[in-house]
């Protein structure tokens, strides 16, 4: 087993840790979570629901911003600054570089998400002075956010293998938004009662990442339990989709001339 992806991943993580922009984002996210205490204070009886809802949304949105904006620059920045030339002159295969970059950003996102989750837990404890058994759903919702971020990172990395950071951002955002509504796209196809449209809508549904199943924020806020089968299903789906996207990215990047 090659250790090179882990070496590249650690360096990517180190780069993110030393980037001050990231701290600003974490600061903003923690501010958002703290602000939820204020909002919760004026929402008598539903403080917990408001705090969990706002807190998880902040974790998701700020995670998404990081995944897209750092993700699209993972490859292009290395090409633009020519740091990739030195790296690829070492015994490093291009797919190892990509997997390492993906792993490094995922590690960064995991650490940031963990920090923000701690902030959310602190806010919850401040309001209710205890944790409920149902709060386990919050951790599951956070896990789903992480899975979603892994998918978005893989997509951003894929696009950055052949397009500019600006276009990669647009493509990733477009796929993300379309992925949220992928089920609706399929349903619209069914409503048309046109076999060609139905087939096209079904194809789009299967090709696009299905983000619909990753949203457990409302369930967590209401203290509802999340089925274990959904956890397995989302995990397997993410692993499969990320693997396919990374294989695609490697195929594109391996044939690219680094002018």
């Amino acid at each position: 087993m090659s250790t090179i992806p882990s070496v590249v991943a650690i360096n990517t993580f180190r780069e993110a840790v030393r980037d001050r922009v990231l701290y600003n984002l974490i600061f903003f996210a923690l501010m958002m979570i703290s602000a939820s205490i204020l909002v919760g204070g004026i929402s008598i009886g539903i403080e917990r629901l408001v705090i969990i809802n706002l807190g998880l949304s902040a974790i998701s949105i700020f995670g998404l911003i990081m995944a897209i904006f750092i993700g699209v620059g993972l490859v292009s920045k290395e090409i633009e600054k020519r740091t990739l030339y030195t790296l690829l002159s070492k015994p490093v295969r291009r797919w190892e570089f990509l997997v390492g970059k993906f792993g490094g950003l995922l590690l960064t996102l995991t650490v940031n998400t963990a920090l923000m989750t701690l902030g959310l837990a602190a806010a919850l404890f401040y309001v209710s002075r205890n944790f409920l058994r149902a709060d386990v759903s919050i951790l599951v919702a956070v896990y789903f956010i992480l899975l979603e971020l892994a998918l978005v990172t893989a997509l951003a990395l894929f696009f950055s293998c052949f397009s500019s950071p600006m276009l990669s951002t647009l493509f990733t955002l477009a796929i993300y938004v379309a992925g949220i509504f992928s089920k609706d796209i399929r349903d619209i196809g069914i409503l048309t009662q046109n076999p060609a449209m139905q087939a096209a809508a079904r194809a789009i549904y299967y090709v696009l990442p299905n983000f619909h199943n990753f949203n457990a924020i409302t369930a967590a806020a209401h203290g509802e339990s999340i089925p274990v089968s959904l956890i397995w299903q989302n995990t397997a789906y993410t692993a499969f989709y990320v693997a396919v996207v990374l294989i695609g990215a490697s195929a594109v990047f391996s044939g690219r001339n680094l002018k």
């Binding site: 070492k90 490093v92 002018k259």
Partner: protein, 319 residues
């Protein structure tokens, strides 16, 4: 003849240029050459000659349109080849959030060295390139010369047998150039093959066993600097000072150039003694007499002029 360290056969690279109507532009045209083990090999040519393209092809950063290349018997698309080579890109840029020590440690990790060996290597190579005191400084605070040296250190951190350097002296001040030159000489004395591209011809003349000259993507010649250009003396250069109040000998006056208090005159080899005699007669003080030989630079300029003439045979505008 020893074992070739680098074998290049018919290496060709075409690039698509233009936005709407793409057309192919040949950047490297059937390059064939061999570099022997232990040689310091200079790859010469003006900007845009195809030097960097060749190095990028050898590093597998871009892919050839035609042709093959092998380094120490391994094809350039074999990742194991990269264990045997080191590479310094042109105007290198490194992760500036790292210190020199961290950067070298990162590259050493890619070769799978254990922690203790990595530490030893990093210290050794920082010392080797004269950066022992700057190891813990972030690279964003490094000067260009220091970056070039850390670039060389990363290229040799794994003791490669073949080292490729792309314009290693470019943009450096005289001190930086001398330091890099000494590092190259050091690598050569250790028996490594050094392949470096440059357009600074004096460096190539000073360092290289052999040179190749590239122009417009085509190889113009390969050989020892002395073989590439004829080493025959084509004239003599005399520097002298005149006594106060005396005038230049009439025969030399039209050819002499005044530089401050000194004069310079260039004469044919067979006219040397007669010129010296004339200078002695008017009590001039001879400062130096130097035989003039064509330099690599003259050869280079001749090739460039020939290439321009070939591109515009009528001498008119390209339009």
């Amino acid at each position: 003849m020893g074992t070739p360290a680098i074998e290049i056969e018919g290496l060709t690279k075409d690039y698509a240029v233009g936005f709407w109507r793409k057309r192919m532009r040949r950047s490297l045209d059937h390059l064939t050459l061999q570099v022997q083990e232990g040689e310091a090999f200079g790859f010469l040519g003006p900007n845009g000659a195809g030097k960097t393209t060749t190095l990028k092809l050898l590093m597998n950063l871009i892919f050839p349109t035609a042709g093959t290349a092998r380094v120490r018997g391994r094809s350039i698309d074999d990742v194991r080849m990269h264990r045997e080579i080191g590479y310094l890109p042109e105007q290198p840029y490194f992760y500036d959030y790292l210190t020199a020590r961290e950067l070298l440690d990162y590259y050493a990790r890619l070769f799978g060295y254990p922690a203790v060996e990595r530490r030893q290597r990093v210290t050794r190579f920082l010392e080797h390139v004269g950066l022992a005191d700057a190891g813990d400084v972030q690279l964003r605070k490094f000067s260009k010369g220091m970056l070039q040296r850390v670039g060389i250190a990363q290229a040799i951190i794994h003791d490669p047998q073949v080292v490729f350097l792309d314009e290693p002296m470019s943009g450096l001040d005289p001190v930086g150039r001398r330091e890099v030159r000494n590092i190259i000489l050091d690598l050569k004395s250790q028996g490594r093959t050094v392949f470096f591209s440059t357009h600074i011809l004096s460096d190539a003349e000073m360092l290289c066993d052999r040179v190749a000259v590239l122009l417009g993507g085509k190889l113009q010649g390969v050989g020892a600097p002395g073989e590439i250009v004829s080493m025959e003396v084509y004239g003599m250069e005399i520097f002298f000072e005149m006594r106060v109040g005396s005038s230049l000998p009439a025969a030399l006056a039209p050819h002499a150039t005044r530089i401050g208090e000194r004069y310079r005159v260039e004469v044919q080899e067979e006219q040397l003694y007669s010129a010296l005699e004339q200078l002695r007669n008017c009590e001039a003080r001879i400062l130096s007499v130097t035989p003039l030989r064509p330099t690599l630079e003259d050869y280079f300029m001749k090739l460039v002029a020939r290439d321009k003439t070939a591109s515009h045979p009528t001498g008119g505008s390209a339009r």
